[in-house]
Symmetry: C2
Subunit: 217 residues, 2 copies
C-alpha cells in the first residue's frame, strides 16, 4: 500500500488490473507526488529547512527517487516553483484595462490568486526562502522586478518604478501579514473589504501627482 492507493487528483482511470499502454508511464505518478510535496514543504518551511528526505517521505517515495527525477535539490526547487498560473500574464491583463481603477483591480487580483492554495504556496516559498537563500532571492526579486514591477512601470507617470515599487512593497507586506504571520483581524478580513481600503491607496501611488518635497523638513 505504498504507492498503489489512488492519487486524489487523478481523473477517473481504468481499474489498475492490467498495465495497458495508455496508462501512466509509471514514473509520472511519483514525479507528480514529489512536485506536490516539494511545493508544500518549500512553502511551509522555506528552501533550507525543506529537506529532500522529508519531501520524499511526504511524497511516499524513496529519497533517491527525488534525485533520479530532478538531479539536485536546487532543480527540484526551480521546477516546483513553476507557478501554476502566470502572474505576469495576469498582471498584463489587468494593465490592459487602463490605469483607471487599476489600484483596486490589482489588490483584488492578488487577493484572489492568494486565496487559491496552489498559487499562494509557491509565492510563500519564495518569500520565506529569499532572505536566506541566494537563488530564491534572485528568483523572487528578479521575477517580481522584471515581470510585475517593470510592466506596471510602463503605464504610470514618472517616477514610474518608484510608484510601482511602493505598490509592490505594500502587496508584499499584505502577503506577509495575511498568509505568513496571520495577524488578526487583517488575516481574516474579506478580500472585498481589504480591496476597498487598499485600492485607493495603490491608485494614489500609481496616478497621483508626485508629492512636493516636504516643506516642513
Amino acid at each position: 500500500m505504498t504507492v498503489d492507493e489512488p492519487d486524489e487528483m487523478a481523473e477517473q482511470h481504468e481499474p489498475d488490473t492490467v498495465a495497458r499502454r495508455g496508462r501512466w508511464r509509471t514514473g509520472e505518478r511519483s514525479r507528480r507526488r514529489i512536485l506536490d510535496a516539494a511545493r508544500a514543504l518549500f512553502a511551509e518551511r522555506g528552501y533550507d529547512r525543506a529537506t529532500v528526505r522529508r519531501i520524499a517521505a511526504t511524497a511516499q517515495v524513496d529519497p533517491a527517487m527525488v534525485y533520479y527525477f530532478f538531479e539536485t535539490k536546487s532543480r527540484l526547487f526551480t521546477e516546483a516553483l513553476a507557478l501554476p498560473v502566470n502572474p505576469a500574464e495576469e498582471v498584463a491583463a489587468e494593465l490592459s484595462g487602463g490605469v483607471d481603477g487599476l489600484g483596486e483591480r490589482i489588490v483584488r487580483h492578488f487577493l484572489d490568486v492568494w486565496d487559491r492554495a496552489p498559487t499562494v504556496e509557491p509565492m510563500l516559498a519564495l518569500l520565506r526562502s529569499a532572505p536566506t537563500d541566494e537563488r530564491s532571492a534572485a528568483m523572487f526579486t528578479g521575477y517580481i522586478e522584471q515581470e510585475i514591477i517593470a510592466r506596471i512601470a510602463t503605464v504610470v507617470p514618472e517616477p514610474a518604478r518608484l510608484r510601482a515599487e511602493l505598490v509592490g512593497s505594500h502587496l508584499m507586506g499584505l502577503l506577509l501579514a495575511r498568509h505568513v504571520l496571520r495577524i488578526e483581524p487583517l488575516a481574516s478580513t474579506s478580500p472585498d473589504t481589504v480591496a476597498t481600503w487598499m485600492g485607493p491607496t495603490l491608485q494614489r501611488y500609481l496616478t497621483d501627482p508626485a508629492p512636493a518635497p516636504d516643506p516642513t523638513a
Copy 2:
C-alpha cells in the same frame, strides 16, 4: 593577537598592562563580542543559516565559548534579540503628538530607526526567521501586535486594529523591500522622499472615514 586587539566599541580604558580590579572580568569581553556577532549574523542570514561556528569566528572566539556562555544556540538567539532600543516607547512618543500628521511621523520614525544598523539588525533577524522558526514567529508577531499595533489602535477610529494593521503591513513591506530584498530604486530613495509618498497613505488608513462597501461588486 587573538583577543587582545582593542574592541572598537569599548570606551577608553587604562592600558592593558596590569589586571587591576575594575577592569572587565575577562569573560565579559568575549560574551559581548559573541552577542554582537550573533546579532549581525542572525540579521544577515536568519536563524538557521547563522551557524554557531561562524558566529564564533566572527567574534574571534572558539565555538565552544558560545556554548559555555549561552548553553544553546536557541538561547543565544533569544539573548541576542534583546532590542537595543524600545520601539514601543518610541511609538508611544509619536502617538503623544496626536493623530494629526501621525502617518508621516510614523514612517519617518521607522525609516530613521532602520537607518541605524544596530537597531535594524534584530528586526531583520526576526523577519527572516519568523517564517521558518516558531519561536521567531511568535516573538515577532507577539511583539508587533502587543506593543505597536495595539498602541496605535488606541488612538484611531474604528475599525482601529484593522487600520493599525494596514499601516503595519505596509511598513513591513517597506522593510522587506528596502533592507532585505533591496529592490531599486526604492531601497536607495531618501527617507524624506519615501516619507512624503507614504505619509499621506498611512494617514489615510489612520484617520479617513471607513470606505463604503464596494458598490461596483
